[in-house]
Symmetry: C2
């Protein structure tokens, strides 16, 4: 059964990313996501050899294998697109929520960008249809405002957290005003993060 999963890295004080992409924003980005960059599995996704064979790398690989299509926000797309290049690290269809419609962009290695103007729920439904046909799950990959919207709207059925042992002290909080009751289904202690899985319980 295809699941829609919110998966992000977060500091112990709940920070998922920078407010502003300035110099300190880059430092914060490194604090929260820095555990990923040395991993062999992450490097392989980017087309790079080498890297560390750790628990973190194994978890990252399993997450990658599990997910088919991804849903991302327009801001993340605009910010990332120039960096992701001709063979982007997604290797799957990416659905971008946006107010400005445009034609699908097809890249190498299985990545395509499809722009959905009907809101986040519509993007999730399109991604779910593709994932179901493939026996995969859908990844809600960010940014932070997509995470807020998904939780508020009850679109995330599972939350995967990579909990980084830091107090960041500033930045954007992964969780905003959504209320939910969850059930912890997995805990894996890695080197750079604690990997947590939670099912989101439906409000009774």
């Amino acid at each position: 059964m295809t699941k829609v999963v919110l998966s992000m890295s977060m500091s112990l004080d709940g920070i998922a990313g920078p407010d502003v992409p300035d110099e300190d924003g880059m430092a914060l980005f490194e604090e929260i996501l820095g555990w990923v960059f040395p991993l062999r599995s992450w490097r392989a996704q980017q087309g790079m050899a080498g890297g560390e064979d750790t628990v973190d790398s194994k978890v990252w690989q399993e997450n990658f294998d599990r997910f088919g299509p991804q849903v991302i926000g327009r801001r993340m797309f605009d910010y990332g697109y120039p960096h992701w290049g001709e063979n982007p690290p997604f290797h799957a269809p990416v659905f971008v929520t946006t107010h400005r419609g445009q034609d699908t962009i097809v890249k190498e290695g299985g990545t395509s960008y499809t722009f959905v103007t009907g809101g986040l729920a519509a993007a999730v439904e399109q991604a779910r249809a593709v994932a179901a046909a493939d026996g995969k799950d859908v990844l809600l990959a960010g940014g932070v405002s997509i995470a807020h919207q998904a939780l508020e709207a009850g679109l995330a059925e599972e939350v995967v957290l990579h909990l980084v042992p830091r107090l960041a002290g500033r930045g954007l909080r992964l969780f905003d005003t959504a209320r939910a009751d969850l059930r912890c289904t997995e805990v894996i202690q890695g080197e750079g993060a604690l990997h947590l899985r939670y099912d989101v319980r439906r409000p009774s």
Copy 2:
């Protein structure tokens, strides 16, 4: 070696307690601390029989055995004092940070309340001296503003978190603007919370 430990329950979105002690504040308090009340070890501290013998109960007991003196804020004291009664659940010296000095109050069962006007660092030092003589650790037990002050001032050497699987959506955040690098030293998956221990690394 005596350690000063900040130990609190927190929701997944970082909430440690209510802003306001109204009806919703009590509901939030129950969301975040409700896992404690059925435990056999917690009930024994309150002088009550029965309760659940679970992983959570064992963790709570070990925490209790480890700590000697506690440091709490004036607001927590004023709020709790009438409820804690003549045989309070601390069973140890409690140091209360306050602007208003007053004589020490001695209760039954090993609890005393000593009022320290020299600031949080002074209260921690007094508690540390008592703990060291006893081979115990010092518990920074709250409220939330004491947690903020302790982290900002670098007074907490270890952080013990009972991470409750909920998005509370409102309330006071346990972590504020303090920055720190931590090291996860223990993870125990309980029934009502995930029990996490972190050493606070000194800034280099």
